[in-house]
Subunit: 237 residues, 2 copies
């Protein structure tokens, strides 16, 4: 651990290394990113990585912590609002649907928009492909919370309890409609023959996203029970 210094550029190198780490680890993954490349790109000394973080792995952990912090500051309050609405037993179906719409818009904005979200998602994906010792940091700090918010509102709208297996699977599936634009960005851009997802395209995704999610909720009937009811249930909120 570095002792606090008293200069104007306190922690400047440390911060720069983390920001560079977000970019490079995202692009190439943990193993394929060299400390030399990190130090050079951050205009820092090679030794500074060991000094500030104890080594490459320490820097990586710091990068994950930084990412989780940034993203939760961005969407944490929104997720809390969703949970509050869902905890209110008297919330109307329309209120819940409106919450769902906000969640779609937030999801698309946070996942797809912005430069930093790209590096973030890249690291997230790397961890999904080959989880490192720091996977927990991302899962508990971010992914689980996003899922919980979606599951809460979908649970209310479908009548399934939040610990229900089908609800959890469906929650992931529904989120997948938006996650794919981040995860399959390269293929998406190729398919649309463009270089970035414009604001116009994002707005289009939000619009049909809301339509699709509402259609799914409206058409919901549980399928996971052995002898599941095959008619619509009209008696849910």
């Amino acid at each position: 651990m570095p002792s606090k210094n008293t200069h104007a550029n306190e922690g400047a190198t440390r911060r720069k290394l983390i920001e560079t780490g977000v970019r490079l680890f995202g692009l190439h993954g943990f193993e394929a990113t060299s400390t030399r490349a990190l130090a050079t790109a951050a205009d820092a000394n090679l030794g500074s990585i060991s000094y500030h973080f104890g080594g490459k792995e320490g820097l990586y952990r710091a990068v994950l912590e930084h990412i989780v912090e940034i993203k939760m500051a961005e969407i944490g309050p929104g997720l809390d609002r969703v949970l509050t609405v869902c905890a209110d037993a008297s919330a109307s179906r329309e209120k819940l649907l409106e919450t769902l719409r906000v969640l779609v818009r937030t999801m698309v904005g946070v996942m797809i928009g912005g430069e930093q979200s790209q590096a973030f998602s890249q690291i997230m994906m790397q961890e999904q492909i080959a989880p490192t010792a720091s996977f927990d940091l991302l899962y508990s700090g971010f992914f689980e919370k996003v899922q919980a918010a979606w599951a809460a509102v979908l649970g209310r709208l479908t009548g399934l309890p939040t610990d229900n297996r089908e609800l959890r699977l469906r929650t992931l599936s529904i989120m997948g409609q938006f996650v794919i634009f981040r995860v399959g960005m390269a293929a998406t851009l190729r398919r649309l023959d463009c270089e970035k997802l414009s604001d116009e395209i994002m707005e289009c995704i939000v619009r049909f996203g809301i339509q699709q999610v509402e259609a799914i909720v409206d058409g919901f009937t549980p399928v996971d029970q052995p002898g599941c009811a095959c008619g619509r249930q009209e008696d849910r909120i």
Copy 2:
């Protein structure tokens, strides 16, 4: 290029290197996979990589080609059947819906099931995160074709032409409902607190997947036009 030998184990080393490459490149990515690790795991000589493939990059290309070949043999005929049905102007809406259901089942089976599909998806994801010079191989050989089949049937069911931007975006979004279980496998397993997606879970995904996709198609109204029609269109197939 190696000259054909006349022994019983003709190409045995070559084949073994490719199979090992699928696994290791998938796990660690191109850069982070060493030729030494490849050779050792394949029980082959270090020099054999250069001999057979001209180097590490050549082996990687061969791995991608192998993957595309395997997967297209698996689903190519099915995709062709979908295209045939969609090209038939007299196909009923029910026939098209049935085709869509088959597509969901195929998608889930191919993407999520099987051991080899894991390594395949891992490489696919690596290429999406940081496309290499061989990205085209995967895109043109596999991804584009899968998208085309989905777009064809969704185009018929929604009335949108296959070159329509909204159709292409929606196609990706709908596929995302299933892709997420591969892409977010680590988080999914963690969320369900299990170690693999059992057949029972996959069947559950197929069942609600079909329900969700049908709900989306039923609730479809275009959103991409500036002054889009806001009622249902009942005049499509």
